[in-house]
Symmetry: C2
Subunit: 471 residues, 2 copies
């Protein structure tokens, strides 16, 4: 390795590793620089450990349905929090093995250290300077924690530290009810902890549809209190922390900060690029190319403030890596937007958000899952789905929902929207019985009736007769 390389990639998270794949197709003359552990946010501190915690929490919570099913002994089921957390880490350790092996495989083409731009073609790593023809920036993000919370020391948790705990105290406040906050608050509550959720705004889990938000709120509030719509203040109380807002207060042993993630762009030398930075310090990035202005520099993944979601970060890494090794910059179509929150009921957004739609030109199909047949059989009947379509053509535009198995129905809608299908197109597919997708079909039929021209014949689009299988 010389101090002059074709491509430097800064950051070995999901975006950086995806960029690496593309770069390696074209050249071996690259350097991958990584500041923290070689584990990716997703595998080490994000998607994977959180889902492992949620699965254990849901398995424990299921005992509340035992009596309904005809099962006995629910009261004897217990949870061993240290074991739950140990399992989370065991799984996590497996998932990080892949990215952790990267520096070993790359040898001198991988470098551990904090990188800083010195200009569009120069990078410093500690005392060393590297000249690169092209640079891919994928420095990732970190949890937002208000500065004055430092006084509460290790009573403040983030997703960086939560999964490292060997045990958990009995009372945890979760501040921030976005995707991560809702997931973790519910999981901790279901694991038997006393939990309260706070947020300065009244939205939940990133939903923008007020009816779906209300349905989710009703479901969550059956499990733990939510104090929304007013900023939360922390204060010391004995060995704990009291969280107070105009909506309510909660005496906690620890506080999980879930107020979003901040791009790691404040200390990487973006000011040396000669482009204007916005009020958050972010440079102009084209989401279809990931290029910063017309520089030989690309910014991919969480760090560009687009969607901090694994599959988007992976796509962005690929786009940046391709463009960083191409003769000409190419624009790529981004996929249909898809966001899933692994709460119960699960939350999903697909395509356009409710707030982005033109109310005059949009028809909304609705399905209530509180009476859905399969959901009732499974003791999971709750939630609401709203599907948005073009009122004139029936083209599917977006959907927001909280419903059982929303993660799966979201993929079905995403495929339909990716290919520009209409509500009528989608109703032509088979819906098995009894499945939750029949609830989705109810929303589609409701939408089809509201679209200009009304519901067409899809072989079974007919008025209700009170028989779930046919309705």
């Amino acid at each position: 390795m010389t101090d002059q390389v074709e491509v430097v990639i800064i950051g070995a998270g999901t975006a950086g590793l995806s960029a690496l794949r593309e770069v390696r197709r074209q050249t071996d003359d690259f350097l991958l620089i990584n500041a923290r552990d070689w584990g990716t946010t997703c595998a080490a501190r994000g998607c994977m450990p959180s889902k492992a915690l949620i699965e254990a929490a849901n398995a424990f919570h299921r005992r509340h349905d035992f009596a309904a099913f005809g099962l006995t002994g629910a009261d004897s089921v217990g949870v061993d929090i240290p074991s739950v957390l140990a399992r989370v880490r065991t799984l996590r350790d497996g998932f990080v093995k892949g990215p952790e092996a990267v520096p070993g495989k790359l040898g001198s083409r991988a470098l551990s250290g904090r990188a800083r731009l010195l200009g569009p073609n120069r990078v410093a790593v500690e005392a060393r300077e590297i000249t690169a023809r092209r640079i891919v920036l994928a420095p990732g993000s970190r949890p937002v924690v208000p500065k004055d919370w430092a006084q509460f020391g290790d009573r403040i948790l983030t997703t960086d530290t939560l999964f490292e705990q060997t045990d958990l105290p009995g009372r945890i406040a979760v501040v921030g009810m976005g995707a991560i906050g809702v997931e973790m608050a519910q999981a901790l509550s279901r694991l038997g902890l006393e939990v309260a959720g706070f947020d300065a705004v009244e939205t939940l889990a990133g939903l923008t549809d007020p009816e779906v938000t209300q349905a989710l709120r009703t479901a969550l509030e059956r499990e733990f209190p939510l104090y929304l719509g007013a900023p939360a203040e922390l204060s010391q109380s004995g060995s704990g922390v009291t969280v107070t807002s105009e909506a309510g207060h909660f005496a906690a042993d620890a506080v999980l900060a879930a107020m979003g993630r901040r791009p790691n762009i404040d200390d990487i030398g973006l000011d040396t690029l000669g482009v204007e930075l916005d009020d958050k310090g972010a440079p102009p990035v084209d989401p279809t190319t990931l290029q910063i202005a017309d520089l030989p520099v690309w910014l991919a993944g969480d760090a560009n403030g687009h969607l901090a979601i694994l599959h988007e970060a992976a796509d962005e890494g690929h786009i940046a890596g391709r463009n960083a090794t191409a003769d000409a910059t190419q624009a790529y179509c981004r996929r249909t937007e898809l966001v899933i929150v692994f709460a119960a009921p699960q939350v999903a957004r697909i395509g356009a958000r409710f707030v982005e739609l033109d109310p005059g030109g949009t028809a909304i199909g609705r399905a209530d899952f509180s009476r859905q047949a399969r959901a009732r059989i499974a003791e999971r009947a709750e939630g609401l789905m709203q599907i948005y379509g073009d009122a004139a053509t029936g083209k599917l535009m977006g959907a927001e929902m909280c419903a059982p198995a929303a993660e799966h129905m979201a993929h079905l809608l995403a495929l339909a929207m990716q290919h520009g299908l209409s509500v009528h197109d989608m109703l032509a597919m088979p819906f098995y019985h009894p499945v939750l997708e029949e609830g989705l079909r109810s929303a589609l039929r409701d939408l089809a009736r509201k679209v200009r021209g009304g519901g067409r014949f899809d072989l079974s689009d007919c008025p209700a007769v009170g028989f779930d299988a046919l309705d």
Copy 2:
């Protein structure tokens, strides 16, 4: 009501009620005749009570994962079989309310009694004769039980009687390992009964792909023994029944006959129609019109021996009802074939079956779910998915699988096949992380590599780096 009507519908099951809807759009001059209870096979004895039993069984079975999750008390969880069965009936009673209300709503246009054709325009119901311009036959089906099993009396169960039991004996043999046999055998086993499954052939749950069948067999045999490939004989042994085949034997307290369903066409006077009947006594029926030959008679639902599946029966009822009230017979495109078996792992078939494909022109994409990341997190990692595509174009032709959440992934593939998508089209959609659909994506990528021209760029179609989220 006169003894002369425009349309007679025989059978008030799913197909008959769907036909009724269409008929009522056109005329009030109809008569609905039903021989048995007004409950539909699906709601009273099929889809719904079976799924209720399965959900309870799966909830109980989940205790085996408690230790892995960090939960305690699994040994204290018990099952109260009478309560489980009572819940099944309570749910069932709710689901049959809709169809049961039909005769009350129709008044004299509904008739309880056994109908028999006297010719293409005449029907007898007991002593009464009715002349009809058009006739829709939807007489349904019943479980197959070998005649000589009558000697074992009430130790022989079928899905007609299983859900009526107030308790269950400790040992049940299930003879027939098709969809219903596999579902019920596993559910009974998971409810703590000693179960053995028998079948004269080596196929399972209607699968035709030998590798998927083997994966399902391996999974099922972890829970109860399967004796396949040889016919089962029953013999009395004390108060029980011993089931014996060349593959093995089992001393049972009761035997569930799950050898399929026989169309109820043997005693409805099809011989009076003047058309040739096949060796099973079935008349020629066009699946796109449901018409019998060129007669003013339509045969819909289980009774025509096509697919005994609710959504197909509903479609067939609609088609028959439309045609029975139309000036000219119209052919309808049938939906993409979709069959789901609610075992664990779930079984699904979509589109063309493995055995129907031209091996030379077909590429197969494969995904093993035993290492799939999300499945491992959920302690549900097992199963195999095979997706069949046109080797030249990549057009999706069919799929067979046994996998967690196969019911959902099957709908995704059904939508894709309904719209003639290729493997490349489907790879353009977003796949969230971590989801089971990433396993489906693995099968799609495997397929894409095998299709002429190899894998195209879908923004993330790259060689493995050992990191689940990116692979």
